[in-house]
Subunit: 448 residues, 2 copies
């Protein structure tokens, strides 16, 4: 079997009972965290545009939930709407090694399909794991050259969504391969939009979830796709990567659970800022420093951080400020945490701007060499009294070795819902409470 | 203005009265020819799969016509269904220089939007021209390196559809640029499916028409896209081409009408086979040869033909046989024309297979240098009695200098409808007759 076929067979054959209990628990955590991000998208202009489009082009009925409107639609259009919603707040999960955001493409498709098909909670979790395992490996396979131009969450995301929905539809291995073929040939998403702060990020996830779901649905109906869409001579890697490694596609399938390697986002900012943010928080706590004690901060970072964050020197929007290393560290210094309310209320305070301009980035060989497998945080803080303090974090908050527990995930979910107004505290608390028991649900019903 | 902006401004500003009368007539011809191809998709398995998916995910009502079911849907899902339908018979039009099939991505989106918006026939024609002019130039821009891996009709098609629908929606130049950004960042379609004769070709056009329409619709609602999706440092060319030429994007805008350069397909096969097919037909007529007189045929072709057709040595489906140079030439030798009935009934006859295996392709410097601006057909026929005959065609049948007239287009339309059973002779004749007067329609209603 070639790697595409092996990966497809795995995605088709995965069942709830094959998944270790710890991975199931983690998947429940990821589902709750995704749900909160979807609720957090309510009211965001680009999200509401896509939600309006989906409503205008669909039925206004159907078994699948549109989370931000509390309406219903077909699984295809609900997946589109919920995927747009869950990628706006920059709080959805990330897999470090693949630089891929699995939840926002996998769960919108899986939940919409599960609701339409009357699947059980256990089936939804298994489908989610199938989506994560596939999407993460495809992202790793496509490599760093791909990520330089393509938004991996959009591109690998079509296959991740197809794997999840195909698993729910009970595709056999050959049908799953066809679903991969159809998903991969719709794979898309370019970073160019970042240059002018355009809205494409949510379009990429909407597209990936919807196209992936469509691919699985078509495969169930006998529609065929390329056999080797990933590594064939005119496949995804041939067109969109120069360092693709087919061995990554099947790396530890069924033994290594990539799902469990996924990180939660603690700060509401670009993940590239998190290691330094945590290292700074550590220094401030350790030495009991106040913001006014800081003369200068040097963050020792990987090249990817400089590439993505470097251009953002004077952010003018909340969303852009999440890509400003200085702003994130200033908020952490002032409030201990850079969450949604901190950004919204304080991203351009004079105190924030003053601190922001004291932060520099410097390329660090150790940090760069460890990336993307490990995201090490290192800072040097120069104090106003002439001191020099070092801070280091080997696993930023939210990484598997330093994860968020269920209380922290619940608190984050409540904060996200309250921020967007997508659900009341009481509703959200009850929805999250129910979701902790998803593995026992006989049918996946509405989440809200 | 950069080229992306200039092209967007042209697409936004184009009005019916700007278009020369001869180009309007040609666009009417292209619309009729597209309509016939859409009718021809009825009953084809991959088409019916996509049509069923669109029906399952939508409303079953709406102002836009689904041609093969005679049902109705939203413009988004109708565009998806009709685009799948019109690219199946391999009889839809092609622009030589860009190796791009404009009709099957432009008209499904434009007609569906026009029906939903209550646009006039003149507005539909102007939108069609906007789509053709943009799509063809984007295809030319992306170049030969792109076409080696990507199906240009799928990739450039998202922008073509966005231009057409954006023109109908009355987008201003900036909104059109945003529509281009959203369309380009969804641009997708890989040739890998050909290797195993998978169904992706119709998925590519369905995807392009639907994603392009969505992009224009979102732009009207304020959704933004990258400013330089085509030629920016992380745009389409950066990710998917190594020989892109930005000058092609604006080549002769408003003076050179690329729409009028579009070719009709005479044979029901991949366009790369047509020049050789016509050259062979010429030799057979000229020297009054019979199939049994042929010992061997060498077709002297451009590299693109070898890339696309080379892998197809023993086609097992009708659709795959349309990408087999040997099969096409065998049918031409046996029947004088490789039309839908010839493929359907004879693609695997022993006589066809015997002839097929006598056909070789050889790269020809002159043909390759002229390509893609001119598609020259050259064949050498070795006869069983030891003779060697040369055949040459400088413009294959259907090219602008050797075009199909309205009687021939009508006859082709009737044949397509009768082949699929998509419409009776009488219905088709009356639908085509009405379409010749589309420029005078106050509103675009149902075509069937």
């Amino acid at each position: 079997m070639n790697p595409s076929a092996e990966l497809a067979a795995f995605a088709a054959g995965l069942r709830f009972e094959h998944i270790p209990a710890a991975v199931v628990r983690k998947t429940e955590d990821l589902l709750v965290d995704w749900f909160a991000s979807a609720v957090a998208g309510k009211g965001a202009r680009p999200v509401e545009s896509i939600v309006r489009f989906a409503a205008a082009m669909g039925a206004g009925e159907g078994a699948s939930e549109v989370i931000v409107t509390r309406g219903r639609s077909s699984p295809y259009l609900a997946a589109m709407a919920n995927a747009a919603a869950s990628h706006f707040a920059e709080q959805d999960d990330v897999h470090n090694g693949s630089v891929f955001h699995p939840a926002t493409v996998v769960f919108p498709a899986a939940v919409a399909a599960a609701q339409a098909l009357g699947a059980s909670g256990a089936q939804l979790l298994a489908a989610g794991v199938a989506g994560y395992e596939v999407g993460i490996r495809v992202g790793e396979f496509l490599g760093r050259s791909h990520y330089k131009v393509f938004h991996t969450t959009g591109t690998a995301g079509t296959l991740a969504a197809a794997a999840a929905v195909g698993n729910l539809l009970g595709l056999d291995a050959q049908q799953m391969r066809h679903a991969f073929g159809s998903a991969g040939t719709q794979s898309a998403g370019l970073w160019e939009f970042l240059r002018t702060a355009a809205d494409s990020k949510q379009l990429h996830t909407a597209h990936a979830a919807a196209a992936g779901l469509m691919s699985a649905w078509l495969a169930k109906d006998g529609f065929t796709g390329a056999d080797r869409i990933l590594d064939g001579p005119q496949g995804m890697a041939a067109g969109m990567s120069s360092d693709a490694d087919p061995a990554r596609l099947t790396d530890g399938l069924g033994a290594r659970w990539a799902t469990a390697e996924t990180s939660f986002k603690y700060h509401a900012s670009c993940r590239h800022t998190h290691p330094a943010a945590d290292a700074l928080a550590h220094v401030l706590r350790e030495y009991r420093l106040q913001p006014q004690d800081i003369a200068r901060v040097v963050t020792h970072v990987h090249q990817g951080a400089i590439d993505v964050l470097g251009p953002v020197t004077d952010p003018v929007t909340v969303h852009q400020s999440k890509f400003s290393m200085g702003t994130v560290l200033a908020l952490v210094a002032r409030f201990g945490h850079a969450g949604l309310p901190e950004f919204e209320r304080h991203f351009r305070d004079p105190d924030t701007v003053t601190l922001r301009d004291k932060v520099q980035m410097a390329l660090d060989r150790e940090v760069d060499a460890a990336y993307p497998r490990r995201w090490i945080g290192k800072v040097t803080v120069h104090t106003v009294d002439g001191g020099t303090l070092q801070g280091r974090v080997d696993e930023p908050k939210g990484d598997p070795g330093n994860t968020l527990n269920r209380d922290e995930l619940t608190a984050k979910a409540l904060q996200l819902a309250s921020f967007s107004g997508g659900a009341s505290d009481e509703e959200m608390r009850s929805a999250v409470e129910r979701l902790w028991h998803v593995a026992a649900w006989p049918r996946v019903g509405r989440l809200l």
